[in-house]
């Protein structure tokens, strides 16, 4: 029995990370229709800044947290004012902007590598690695923290989009830019909020994952792929469904790795492919 429990908890923990990246990805997608291929690199910046704060400078976790948040706000600003705005001004197609996000991602990776070195760095955990027992299963504090923070973020983001004026305005922008504009909503301010929110969620993802897998300028892609998969599985139109998609992918990876190890990765992505064919809108399409 404890094998199942243990596999389940492992799946939920990695799945929460995938879900968190899907969440960040879907915030941008749902407010601007931009598919942000630099999402993984934003997580990478979060992880590298965690290394920069904790190991490079031996700052406290709190200071490191603010360094991560601060750098993510800068990234969001660059994303909006260096990439998206100039391209939109010149009437570039969505396709060009999406290719632009790939370029931004590569620039972030290489820039980080030039600045902090292109190595794989170790990052100490927030709480020492003393396992916590839950009945006859055990979990490392870092993984428990990942689950708790990821879900708190999803709930806060839900609250923001559904219960606050700014959140509702942002949704209005995504439904109809012109409609929102005539209603007196400041579009560029709204977009800035959307980009910042997405970047900050990515940064926190990086902060959480750095003690598990370490920090390196090239960790973005492997994480982003799972995040995109989670978003597609959950439903691109629904910001929160990515979390469920992430958990499903995490748990299936965990169980398949145990029972048919060599096929685990292939099966996970076959499920995704199957979903795309059978239900392209994902498991939880938005009902609106």
């Amino acid at each position: 029995m404890d094998v199942y429990g243990q596999l389940l908890i492992a799946g939920i923990s990695t799945g929460s990370i995938y879900g968190l990246i899907a969440l960040a990805f879907l915030i941008i997608y749902n407010s601007t229709q931009i598919v942000n291929f630099a999402q993984g690199e934003m997580v990478m910046v979060g992880a590298m800044m965690t290394f920069f704060g904790l190991s490079f400078h031996s700052f406290s976790y709190l200071s490191t947290f603010f360094i991560v948040i601060g750098s993510m706000i800068v990234i969001a600003f660059i994303f909006q004012h260096v990439l998206v705005k100039p391209l939109q001004k010149q009437g570039a197609s969505m396709f060009s902007i999406i290719i632009g996000t790939i370029a931004l991602g590569i620039v972030l990776s290489e820039g980080m590598g030039l600045w902090l070195g292109k190595q794989q760095y170790g990052v100490p955990p927030i709480i020492p690695n003393n396992p916590i027992s839950l009945g006859n299963i055990t979990i490392l504090p870092q993984n428990l923290l990942i689950i708790i923070i990821s879900w708190s973020l999803v709930i806060s983001i839900w609250y923001f989009f559904n219960r606050t004026m700014t959140g509702l305005s942002l949704r209005a922008v995504s439904i109809s830019t012109e409609g929102a504009q005539v209603s007196g909503i400041k579009i560029s301010r709204m977009l800035a909020i959307g980009f910042t929110l997405s970047a900050v969620v990515s940064g926190i993802g990086g902060l959480l994952i750095a003690p598990v897998v370490g920090a390196s300028p090239y960790l973005g892609l492997s994480i982003a792929v799972k995040g995109f998969a989670a978003a597609i599985l959950g439903g691109m139109g629904n910001i929160y469904a990515g979390m469920i998609g992430g958990i499903i992918i995490g748990i299936s990876e965990s169980f398949f790795s145990f029972y048919i190890p060599s096929y685990a990765e292939a099966i996970t992505f076959t499920i995704m492919l199957f979903m795309l064919v059978v239900k392209p809108t994902g498991l939880f399409p938005e009902h609106s």
Binding site: G122, I139, A264
Partner: protein
């Protein structure tokens, strides 16, 4: 307009100077009596493997500086030209071309990644330039049946050498059923095959071998599978980050199984990520802190570079350069066949790596420098690598 004129003038002048420079070097060649002897190094100076490649290069540079201060090679200085292959085989092969054709090096020191060394050694062999591998451990890099064998030499021991030593250790500890965890790359899988073969030859039983992708974020499934197989000890052949993840998972599920690992885990990222979860793990290493020569090297190296906490990679670079210098003294700075012959005649060259009295030697059919009793064991303690024992049975078959 005037600016443009000045600019073109400078351009023409510098081009002319460049031609003159080329000319003088091509007439004198590399055999000029006062010219430095050029030695190349190809290794990962950026990317994940630079934690090995950069200390390797710094170790070589430290040796070069010492040899030059001591009068060089029969009066001529050594010049090290380092090339970054980014752990990429194609880049490595191109860098080999460049070092041989443009820089006209007499010999090349090979870096930490077996895949890139394999690629560059094929290019290097075509030119008849000797290559001395510093860190890369794949068994097949030195293979008497291979076309690259005549020009390829190696300072470090190979994977099977380590596995044999660890097999003896596992037998000594009374373990019988062994589990293996490795990544699913060529590195991990060829390692798993060698472990299975050697352990079973020694009468041990490899009960189960599990694998995982590189960059895995969770290894619970693999760890539980090993536990279900009820193994007496686990052999980890993954690299740092996944190795650390495995050790943390062991601690999480509270399974106190003895663990041994591959030499590649001797890196800071591994202990940083694992924290105290890796305590007790036994790892092969090449440097014995109780050996006076090794102690002296560690002090010298840390004073200047201090980027290699286990000193495995820097000391191998350092020993490789001294080995090459010994051969260059014999060939009087000549490369090609003269240098190959000189390398093959090296006998009992003292090394800072290896056991107390370890010396290195080559012959015409032994292109691995290491002799008996090279390996030392480290144990991870409080998140750091500590000397465990130098009473290790190790040797060639």
């Amino acid at each position: 307009m005037r600016k443009l004129k000045i600019f073109s003038l400078i351009l023409v002048l510098s081009f002319g100077l460049l031609l003159v420079g080329c000319n003088s070097s091509s007439t004198q060649g590399s055999s000029g009596a006062d010219d430095p002897i050029k030695v190349g190094y190809i290794g990962a100076l950026s990317g994940g493997s630079s934690t090995m490649g950069v200390p390797g290069k710094n170790g070589i540079q430290l040796a070069v500086d010492e040899i030059n201060a001591d009068g060089g090679i029969n009066g001529r200085q050594i010049e090290l030209i380092a090339a970054d292959d980014k752990a990429d085989p194609a880049t490595s092969a191109t860098q080999a071309q460049k070092l041989i054709n443009e820089d006209e090096v007499v010999a090349i020191l090979g870096g930490p990644n077996s895949g890139t060394v394999k690629a560059n050694s094929e290019v290097i062999a075509q030119y008849g330039v000797p290559e001395l591998i510093t860190i890369a451990m794949n068994d097949t890099l030195i293979d008497p049946n291979s076309a690259t064998f005549p020009t390829t030499f190696r300072m470090t021991e190979d994977n099977s050498y380590d596995i044999r030593a660890l097999a003896e250790f596992l037998i000594g500890e009374g373990h019988q059923n062994i589990g293996v965890i490795a990544d699913n790359t060529a590195y991990g899988q060829s390692g798993t095959e060698s472990i299975k073969k050697i352990l079973e030859e020694k009468g041990l039983n490899v009960e189960i071998a599990v694998d995982h992708p590189v960059g895995a974020k969770d290894l619970t499934a693999q760890t539980l599978k090993l536990r279900e197989a009820n193994v007496d000890a686990v052999y980890v052949f993954s690299l740092g980050p996944e190795g650390a993840l495995f050790m943390k998972t062991l601690k999480q599920i509270d399974w106190k199984v003895p663990v041994v690992g591959g030499r590649g885990l001797n890196m800071k990222a591994f202990v940083d990520l694992a924290g105290d979860a890796a305590d007790g793990m036994i790892l092969p290493t090449v440097i014995n802190p109780n050996k006076p020569e090794a102690k002296e090297f560690i002090e010298k190296y840390d004073e200047k570079y201090n980027d290699d906490p286990t000193h495995v990679y820097s000391s191998l670079g350092y020993d490789s350069m001294y080995l090459l210098a010994a051969a260059l003294k014999k060939s009087d700075g000549e490369g090609g066949d003269a240098l190959i012959e000189a390398l093959e005649s090296l006998k009992d060259i003292p090394t800072v790596t290896g056991g107390m009295d370890h010396t290195a030697s080559f012959t015409d059919d032994k292109h691995n420098a290491v002799n008996e009793n090279y390996i030392i064991f480290n144990q991870v303690k409080n998140g750091a690598f500590e000397f465990y024992t130098d009473e290790v049975e190790s040797g060639w078959e």
